[in-house]
């Protein structure tokens, strides 16, 4: 298990012709958990006030394949959301995550479902990573009852309480103090879990971030602040908004780590490192150097403040899925065709989920007034006639 394997003479592909519909049962080593493959990150980590972890990461074929599968699904979901938005089935704001999938995939691999994640409005893929279903996601985007927030939240308000996914927030930066609150509760309850509070390079200039960081450091809260630096705060490039774009250094007394956010394994290593650190020493900042292919949201073409060459350049050189594809092919875990089949299957799943979501009904009129309040303990809401307030729409 400790030996690094580069050659895969033992991992000869079986006949690819026999294909079942489920990913995991196609090839014997898709579920291979025992073989260790050592991967090296593309760039070494840069640490601030801390010793960066090693560049070599151990993984298994199963993990590699699952990374690829999940990322393909996420990528497919975001592209589908793009076309749904253009056909006016999704309205309002829709912030797409394609290009940044490696961050949430790598993070999930390093933590458990008891560790909390809270993020801003680019939350579709993180919701999926936390165990959310495609159907819930699309239904919520289209404002249907079957959505994860019953259609009342929208794109920016995905939550999954059982999986400790706390959303889903529209106001830039406001989720970071909430994240520190989650960490506070974890410390209060003496849990062995951490909170990942994610934000972007635009939010990194918010004052409440530093306030929250100060408090987290003061009380040694197990909070990990993750800056998903996609280099553009909506339309403003980071060098135009921040005097010091080295976001991982901004914690000053709080250690920081700069990570290549397009490399799922680097992210995984960094999150593992951060979790260990946070449980012992309090907060740490992770800066994920990542990129988004779409504009800030669907109303932003994404090309007025950056060149198309830049976008395609990143897509060619740093795309997280391509990187995995190369790794998988290099280790001969699957053939080109099989990987394409995985992507096709992802497309099929997404299409199915969309058609199912389209059938989900719009919320009932009475839903307008549900969940505004919660029935209190021994305290009930009354209307003018002392009965429970029921409203009827005209």
């Amino acid at each position: 298990m400790a030996l690094a394997r580069r050659s895969s003479t033992l991992l000869k592909p079986l006949s690819a012709a026999s294909s079942s519909s489920s990913f995991l049962h196609r090839r014997p080593f898709s579920t291979d958990d025992t073989t260790t493959i050592t991967v090296e990150t593309s760039v070494p980590f840069t640490g601030h006030n801390c010793e960066p972890p090693s560049r070599s990461i151990d993984t298994t074929p199963k993990e590699l394949m699952s990374f690829f599968t999940d990322m393909a699904l996420m990528r497919r979901m975001e592209i589908a959301a793009d076309s749904l938005y253009k056909s006016k089935l999704i309205r309002g704001f829709c912030h797409l995550y394609d290009g940044q999938e490696a961050v949430c995939i790598g993070m999930e691999a390093a933590i458990t479902k008891k560790d909390c994640i809270i993020t801003a409005y680019r939350d579709h893929c993180i919701f999926l990573g936390r165990g959310g279903k495609l159907l819930e996601s699309f239904a919520e985007l289209m404002g249907r009852q079957g959505g994860c927030s019953r259609g009342k939240g929208g794109s920016m308000h995905f939550y999954k309480k059982e999986a400790c996914f706390f959303g889903g927030h529209g106001i830039v930066g406001a989720q970071v103090p909430l994240g520190c609150g989650l960490a506070f509760a974890q410390k209060y309850r003496k849990e062995d879990h951490v909170t990942f509070a994610m934000y972007g390079d635009g939010a990194a200039n918010q004052g409440q971030l530093f306030e929250a960081l100060n408090m987290a450091a003061l009380w040694d809260l197990p909070a990990i602040l993750v800056c998903e630096n996609n280099h553009y705060g909506m339309g403003t490039a980071e060098w135009r908004a921040a005097k010091s774009p080295a976001y991982y250094k901004r914690g000053d007394y709080v250690p920081g780590l700069k990570v290549d956010g397009m490399d799922a394994f680097a992210v995984k290593q960094a999150c593992k490192f951060a979790k260990e650190h946070a449980l012992k020493n309090g907060p740490i900042i992770l800066e994920m150097d990542t990129y988004r292919y779409h504009g800030h949201s669907m109303s932003d073409p994404g090309s007025t403040y950056r060149t198309r060459d830049e976008i395609s350049g990143v897509r060619q050189e740093r795309d997280p899925i391509e990187r995995l594809r190369k790794l998988i092919l290099a280790h001969d875990l699957a053939t080109e065709k099989e990987l394409k089949d995985i992507e096709k299957l992802a497309r099929k799943e997404v299409d199915e989920a969309i058609s199912q979501a389209k059938e989900s009904p719009m919320p009932d009129e009475s839903e307008l007034f549900t969940n505004v309040y919660r029935k209190g303990y021994g305290v009930e809401s009354f209307g003018a006639d002392r009965k429970e307030l029921r409203a009827t729409l005209p």
Binding site: G153, Y159, F166, P177, Y188, E211, G376, Y377, V379, F382
Partner: protein, 408 residues
């Protein structure tokens, strides 16, 4: 009683003082409730000068004895039959309620500036940090936006924090957290998360504290969907509302008043929790409904003494619940008296009184014999000069004049 009422109702113009003079003595002798004053609990504001004298706006009276709780026995949720109780000041009552809830539920915690080692800037949390530890009574840095956010995040995880703003005005910095995250998260998550926080702090016009420290935030928060707002005014309801707010699964903003912290009252020994959405009947009456809350309750009761001497019978209701309004109690009162006067400390524009006027007009318009009069603070920043400051808030003579105008 009924004969007087008929006289009042029948006479279209009540300005004729002659008819009232004859009734004046009848009034005071038949007013059994006035007689109760002596035997009931007396609320004394030690050291705090409540307001100007009855006849002069600018003057300062010393040590007023207000009988704001003269009608304690009529309060629905009261349990004052227990004459033995214990006397304490309002901030001690808040502390008692807080401590009982912290004892009862380990998830209840307090966070705010100077709440721990300092004991609270108004001593509401005095003695709690040594007893419950630094994590449960958390001294935060001066960062309202983020510690309010932190409290809300902790509430999402299942804790029940009480967030103290040293002065309500400082919570304006946390408005985003209170509005978006506190109020709306239950809704936008489709019911997944509940935010059982209590946000409390003193507000209101104090003793020449200046414009920024004399703010009334009730009007700013009132449109936030998903929160409840209550204002306490006596030690009895302070403790009861504090406990109810902590036990409620909804976010509750508890408005205290800087000048009311030293009110003394005898409260029951046994445990009691008040209803968050209920108004308090301070003084039943027949002629006019006066709706008020927080410190203005005492101005109203002062004015009530004058009014009674002049022959009026005001019904005074402390609405307590600022969101939602207890339209049941208010409605019943309006159906009886047909005249409404709202006395509040909020600003005239967009204040609680404005919303209450709209709510009453919508629901009880047919029962009103006169337009609603709403007395509020002037739409000015609170000046520092003492005389000017007195003129920004409603004073008892204005209340008396308004009732006279209403009942004309």
């Amino acid at each position: 009683m009924s004969s007087i009422f008929q006289a009042v109702g029948a006479a279209t113009s009540l300005s004729s003082s002659a008819s009232f003079d004859t009734k004046k003595f009848q009034f005071s002798s038949s007013r059994s409730l006035l007689g109760k004053r002596a035997s009931c609990v007396v609320v004394r504001c030690s050291g705090a000068k409540m307001d100007g004298g009855l006849n002069q706006i600018g003057g300062r009276a010393d040590h007023l004895v207000t009988n704001a709780v003269a009608t304690k026995a009529d309060t629905p949720a009261a349990s004052t039959a227990s004459k033995p109780g214990h006397e304490l000041l309002l901030f001690e009552a808040l502390r008692e309620g807080l401590e009982e809830e912290m004892e009862r539920d380990a998830r209840v915690c307090v966070m705010g500036e100077d709440v721990g080692h300092y004991g609270g800037s108004y001593k509401v949390t005095k003695g709690l940090a040594p007893k419950y530890g630094d994590l449960r009574v958390l001294d935060t840095p001066i960062a309202e936006n983020s510690f309010t956010g932190m409290g809300i995040g902790a509430a999402m995880m299942g804790l029940r924090p009480i967030i103290e703003g040293m002065n309500m005005g400082f919570l304006l910095l946390a408005f985003n957290q209170i509005s978006n995250n506190c109020g709306m998260l239950h809704y936008t998550s489709g019911g997944q998360f509940k935010i059982p926080v209590v946000i409390r702090g003193p507000g209101g016009v104090g003793r020449q504290l200046g414009a920024e420290h004399s703010q009334r935030l009730e009007s700013y928060f009132q449109s936030i969907p998903g929160i409840q707002m209550v204002a306490c005014s006596t030690p009895y309801n302070a403790k009861g509302l504090m406990k109810a707010a902590i036990r409620s699964d909804n976010p509750v903003i508890l408005f205290e008043h800087v000048l009311l912290y030293n009110l003394k009252e005898r409260i029951p020994d046994e445990e009691y929790v008040l209803n968050l959405e209920e108004a308090e009947m301070v003084r039943p009456g027949e002629h006019v409904t006066i709706l008020t809350y927080s410190r203005m309750r005492y101005h109203v009761m002062q004015a009530a003494k004058t009014l009674v001497n002049k022959g009026y019978d005001p019904e005074v209701i402390d609405i307590r619940s600022l969101k939602p309004f207890d339209l049941h109690t208010i409605g019943n009162s309006i159906k009886k008296t047909h005249r409404v006067l709202i006395v509040e400390e909020c600003m005239r524009t967009g204040g609680i009184g404005a919303s209450l006027t709209a709510a009453i007009t919508e629901n009880f318009h047919d029962y009103l014999d006169a337009p609603i009069i709403c007395l509020s603070s002037q739409d000015v920043p609170t000046p520092y000069a003492g005389t000017l400051e007195e003129w920004t808030v409603v004073q008892p003579p204005q209340i008396v004049a308004a009732v006279e105008q209403l009942c004309r």
